[in-house]
């Protein structure tokens, strides 16, 4: 009898004490694909959601995109999202969110008021790509249509992810953002999305996802162009594949494209004579991708020449970004401060207040080692002579 009672109690508790009970069928949801945040002139947050229209997904040959955008304004992020359900037919579900867009306005104003909700809410997908707009608001961005994909947000996410092959922008997910934002001694750098021409874009193909945005604390303070972004990615070692273009040794007008297949970089700090020295060592490996000249470049000395050219180019890009960081922005967005904190914790306690000043005045050492591993399928190029 006692046993039966115990069993009953266990079952009752198991069924009732399960935390949040949130039963929703798939067709009771408005699935948000992308979320954009802008700030209005009254300093209110404007949240734009791009949601899937499932009815349009299944049908063959439907015109246009299977999405719809809803916009709502509110004093806080959470309230604006909740208020969205007064426009949408069902509750907005953000568990499958693919893309989060910070409008340029909100980035300038400060992103602190957005971060906490994204971190605290259990539904927010941590693997969503996150990006900042430039010269375009988040609302406008999410209202752009795609020709190729049924869901424009997916098209944008794909263009962001394709940057892995060129290294011109920073491909980042929400989890990276939260991690980087919380790291002391490192300022945030995010990928940007902008329009290609001066006129207002209608389709995703008129957008450009190159370059990046630099933050100081929670505020956007400036942008990096694609090559500067690449220099930055060299330093933090976040490059997967890219094309390096170097001049020919006999005819500098003819260019050789070298494909990078493997990169490795190591940042380090060292205290020498009471001064902090920033060190970067980069190792790179790649193939010859194509050349414009007709001279066989597969001799050992030519390969060595190309390797040196590559090293020169990389050193140049890295040096430039260091100059920009130290002279133009005057902040440490590489995260050398974090290295100081790890390596010299006591020193860090003393200098962390004015780390940016110390960073600006610290000398840096760059060490690059580039290798060419393959020459493709041919040795000498074809020629008409």
């Amino acid at each position: 009898m006692k046993k039966a009672f115990l069993l009953l109690m266990v079952i009752v508790q198991v069924i009732t004490f399960t935390g949040c009970w949130n039963r929703r069928e798939v067709n009771d949801l408005v699935v948000a694909l992308a979320l954009g945040i802008d700030i209005t002139e009254d300093e209110e947050l404007q949240v734009t959601v791009q949601a899937v229209v499932p009815r349009k997904l299944g049908l063959e040959g439907t015109e246009g995109n299977a999405t719809v955008t809803y916009t709502e304004v509110g004093p806080t992020f959470f309230e604006a999202i909740r208020k969205l359900s007064t426009v949408t037919s069902q509750k907005v579900y953000i568990g499958h969110i693919q893309l989060i867009v910070f409008g340029e306005s909100v980035a300038n104003h400060g992103i602190q008021k957005l971060i906490d909700f994204m971190e605290r809410d259990h539904e927010f997908r941590r693997q969503a790509n996150i990006v900042v707009t430039k010269d375009i608001s988040a609302k406008e961005l999410l209202e752009i249509e795609s020709i190729y994909e049924a869901l424009p947000a997916i098209h944008i996410v794909n263009t962001l992810e394709n940057n892995d092959a060129v290294g011109f922008s920073r491909d980042m997910v929400l989890l990276d953002l939260l991690e980087e934002y919380n790291t002391p001694g490192k300022q945030l750098v995010m990928g940007i999305i902008t329009k290609r021409g001066p006129e207002h874009p209608q389709y995703v193909k008129e957008l450009r996802t190159q370059g990046s945005a630099v933050f100081s604390g929670e505020h956007l303070i400036g942008f990096l162009n694609p090559y500067q972004t690449r220099g930055y990615l060299w330093v933090i070692g976040d490059l997967q594949s890219l094309i390096l273009v170097v001049p020919h040794n006999e005819d500098p007008k003819k260019l050789v494209s070298l494909e990078t297949i493997r990169t490795q970089s190591k940042m380090d700090v060292e205290v020498r004579d009471g001064q902090i020295i920033l060190k970067v060592s980069i190792k790179e490996e790649g193939n010859i991708g194509g050349q414009q000249g007709i001279i066989d470049k597969t001799e050992a000395k030519d390969i060595r020449f190309l390797e040196q050219e590559k090293e020169k180019l990389i050193t140049h890009e890295v040096t430039e970004i260091f100059h920009i960081a130290q002279n133009q922005f005057g902040i440490d967005f590489f995260g050398f401060g974090q290295l100081v904190y790890k390596k010299y914790p006591k020193l860090w306690e003393e200098i962390k207040e004015d780390w940016d000043d110390i960073f600006v005045n610290s000398p840096f050492e760059i060490e690059v080692e580039a290798k060419i591993r393959g020459t493709g399928q041919i040795l000498a190029p074809s020629s008409s002579e």
Binding site: M1, A4, V14, I15, T18, W21, N22, R23, R24, E25, V26, N27, L29, V31, V52, P54, R55, L57, G58, Y93, G95, H96, Q98, E123, R125, L151
Partner: protein, 508 residues
């Protein structure tokens, strides 16, 4: 109210172990045979009143012309040719007096049984009860005037089904013979595979009317004597009118009669039975059915088939893993699908989520109702398919496949994905046919739990089921034996089928 519940709980605690033992009713009186043949004959006719099947034929024995004699048998149960050739011909054909040995104190019946009748299985019976019993078993009975005993001659003969390939257990490789309904044939099939005097058959008759013969078969020295004793005592406690199938016995000897997991195994194939008795199990053959019981029966046996031992061990292992996978799929798939659809949208990959979304869009009912509906529909089609005559069976599959499968989707009652889920569940349930019914209940339980609390409910349900299974016993052996309690040696023949040499050496 509470008393009633306690009463039900007590009833649920029924077990063959604490069953009351069966004592034969005292009304049965042993009736001696009368010296007077006329009164015996009258008595027989009285017993078989309204039964025209009893044939009584008076005749004269050439050697003892003074004594009247009758031969009786049940029509259709005996081989009349053998009766004529081996019994009537020697008795009526010639005077055997010159060949007879010294007449001492022997009665006529003894002399005839020992020296005249050439039939192999011939013996004397003393009482009328035995005469009736043997008549019904298909014996020929000779009653002679002035003799206190009758001669029983085994000439039983009836038509049996031939030895066919069993339809419930087909194999690609391995013997194709299956048991039939005749216990003697079945025993022969087992004996032919084990030519050793250690192979024992113990006979027990059960069923006060049917008098069904049972044979307990085991190998002395391998089978655990305690289990044999336990089995025998459980079978002896059975007190029913008739035993028509081994299922009757199964239900009486099962350790947990209210449990959905069978603790007694059944098979139709002699090689399976022999394999099992070599593993120390005990088989119970029952007259009138090709299904032979084996005890103790463990969960792992559902993953094993006879064919596993006839093909190379790596392939057998792959098959075992496939079966385990099927077992997992068939139990949990509908529950997982419903749980994912109602609670855990995050775990679905995005692309799949989109297609689920567009498929679910027009469905007006909840995914639980949808799953329930499809599972019930499938169960109906399945049951109809088995019961229908073979000729109409085709119609059922057409109705099932086209009308229900396609039309349900087109009408927007179920999504195509749900059809896939239910179809997969159904297919995998046939991979472990023995467990089909118990799995059905567990699947249902998990489905309900998943629709209430999602994955949490599935985990909870599975834990309950596993705790329950750990408590099950089959003839004292834990149902999950070799998994829990874990025995590394026995694990070699569970999910993996170890090489034969390691398995066979261990058996010594």
């Amino acid at each position: 109210m509470i008393r009633k519940i306690i009463g039900i709980i007590k009833y649920l605690k029924y077990s063959p172990v604490n069953r009351n033992s069966f004592t034969p009713s005292p009304t049965e009186i042993i009736e001696k045979l009368d010296f007077n043949i006329e009164s015996t004959r009258k008595r027989l006719e009285e017993i078989f009143l309204h039964d025209e099947g009893l044939i009584i034929r008076p005749f004269k024995i050439r050697t003892f012309p003074k004594n009247k004699a009758i031969i009786c048998y049940m029509e259709g149960m005996v081989d009349t040719e053998a009766l004529e050739l081996n019994v009537l011909k020697p008795l009526m054909g010639q005077d055997a007096t010159p060949f007879l040995g010294v007449k001492t104190a022997k009665t006529i019946t003894t002399v005839l049984a020992e020296e005249v009748i050439t039939s192999l299985n011939t013996f004397l019976v003393e009482s009328l009860n035995e005469v009736v019993d043997h008549l019904l078993k298909g014996y020929g009975i000779i009653i002679i005037d002035g003799s206190p005993s009758a001669i029983a001659i085994s000439v039983s003969h009836w038509e049996t089904r031939g030895i066919n390939e069993p339809s419930s257990e087909t194999v690609v490789r391995g013997p194709r013979e299956g048991f039939n309904e005749d216990i003697a044939t079945n025993i022969t099939m087992i004996r032919r595979k084990v030519k050793s005097p250690k192979l024992k058959f113990e006979y027990i008759t059960r069923g006060s009317y049917s008098k069904t013969e049972l044979a307990i078969c085991y190998i002395e020295g391998i089978a655990n004597p305690k289990i044999i004793e336990e089995l025998k005592s459980r079978i002896e406690k059975i007190n029913i009118d008739s035993v028509l199938e081994s299922g009757y016995i199964e239900e009486f000897i099962d350790d947990q009669p209210f449990c959905t997991f069978p603790a007694v195994g059944t098979t139709e194939k002699p090689d399976v039975v022999v394999g099992k008795i070599f593993e120390g199990r005990i088989a119970v053959l029952c007259d009138g059915t090709p299904f032979v019981l084996t005890v103790p029966h463990l969960l792992v046996e559902y993953l094993q088939t006879s064919e596993d031992y006839y093909i190379k061990w790596p392939f057998a292992t792959v098959l075992r893993i496939t079966r385990l996978l099927a077992l997992i799929i068939t139990t949990t798939l509908p529950a997982i699908y419903v749980g994912v659809q109602t609670f855990h949208h995050e775990v679905i990959p995005f692309k799949l989520f989109l297609s689920i979304m567009s498929a679910r869009e027009p469905i007006p009912i909840s995914s639980f109702t949808e799953a329930l509906l499809m599972i019930v529909i499938f169960k109906l089609i399945n049951e109809a398919g088995i019961r229908m005559p073979k000729v109409v069976g085709q119609a059922i599959s057409v109705v099932g496949a086209i009308v229900l499968g396609q039309a349900v989707v087109e009408a927007g009652i179920a999504s195509p994905l749900m059809i896939i889920v239910v179809a997969l569940t159904a297919i995998t349930s046939f991979v472990v046919p023995g467990l089909q019914n118990s799995i059905f209940l567990i699947r249902f339980l998990l489905l309900v739990l998943a629709s209430i609390v999602g994955f949490y409910g599935i985990a909870f349900g599975l834990i309950i089921v596993f705790i329950y299974m750990c408590n099950l016993r089959s003839f004292g052996v834990p149902y999950l034996a070799s998994f829990a309690p874990t025995s590394l040696e026995d694990l070699e023949d569970t999910i993996i089928r170890g090489p034969l040499w390691t398995l066979l050496i261990k058996k010594r």
